[in-house]
Symmetry: C2
């Protein structure tokens, strides 16, 4: 088990739980209801179950490998958005990309996107899974910030990788690219890496 608040216990086990009790601490302390609880179960390093839960909104997305993602019990799907100029893009904050954390790549994607919304915390993964938005791009994150999102978004039809297009695992770095439409994922990936 690996948690943001309590370190790691047997992180090399076949099955590992990865927990973030409060993702979006700044939202939590300022009264914004978008903070959430993230729970991932990994097998052999890969996330096979993910829960994105928002207690203040009574909303919960659950995704599992081989099963359709559900939002409060109802199956959800990402929406088609093959072109970045029609995409709604989410990121926690523009400032997280500064000082060598991918600002140029993020800015390229942002300038091509239809709109950008900051400050949605992990709720933005749910919005992508449910087809309300199209892209979420993050940097300076830890595994407990994003592994739960992988089964949720992919089980709804999307794609979630790092900025090199590699699958996210217990050993991944600090960057996330989540897209509802796999074609859009490819387009954003190219701009991030240019």
């Amino acid at each position: 088990m690996i948690g943001e608040e309590f370190g790691a216990d047997r992180p090399d086990a076949e099955h590992v739980w990865v927990l973030d009790p409060i993702d979006g601490t700044k939202s939590f302390i300022t009264g914004r209801p978008l903070f959430g609880t993230l729970i991932a179960l990994c097998r052999a390093g890969r996330p096979i179950l993910g829960v994105v839960d928002h207690p203040a909104l009574n909303e919960r997305w659950i995704g599992a490998a081989g099963h359709p993602t559900r939002h409060n019990g109802t199956v959800v799907k990402t929406r088609a958005c093959p072109s970045l100029d029609r995409a709604a893009l989410f990121a926690s904050s523009p400032h997280m990309f500064e000082d060598g954390h991918g600002e140029a790549g993020f800015t390229r994607v942002r300038r091509h996107a239809k709109l950008i919304q900051y400050g949605s915390d992990c709720y933005h993964y749910g919005l992508v899974a449910s087809g309300h938005g199209d892209l979420a791009i993050e940097a300076r994150m830890a595994i407990y910030d994003y592994l739960a999102a992988v089964p949720v978004v992919e089980g709804a039809g999307g794609r979630v990788t790092d900025w090199q297009g590699q699958p996210l695992t217990l050993a991944s770095g600090d960057r996330v690219l989540a897209a509802g439409d796999p074609a859009l994922h490819q387009q954003a990936l190219a701009l991030l890496g240019e």
Copy 2:
């Protein structure tokens, strides 16, 4: 009556209603629940009644000149925060300040603040009124985006003006500085105008 969606009818009347049916359109279309409805009543150009309503969250702040502000019926107060380095700052987006819309001033305040949260829409005025945050700074806004916030924040003990410290009226420009603590308002005002 003046509305974002339907123009102006007798805008020079003694009493004028100012309405924004959906403030936070980008949130509304991307499934983020922070969008709101803003209603202000002005007398002789000054807002004397304000409603900040969030239908997706079942939250409503009502402020009126000479009365304490209420959130879902309960009186709320801003919190003391006389020093910017302890302040939670809100703004809709950093990009609205670009291209000559006050970026240097905003950046000075942001760099001194304890934390910055983007993307709260008009909900941030309620958060300041209720003492969950301390400052909201906006540019490129219209009167229907901010007049309702004036009685709400001021009726809770805060201060709301333009970036020159002038009261907001039907004739005001596009910039807003709202603070829960009047001492903090003075400090932010000085940095915005440097």
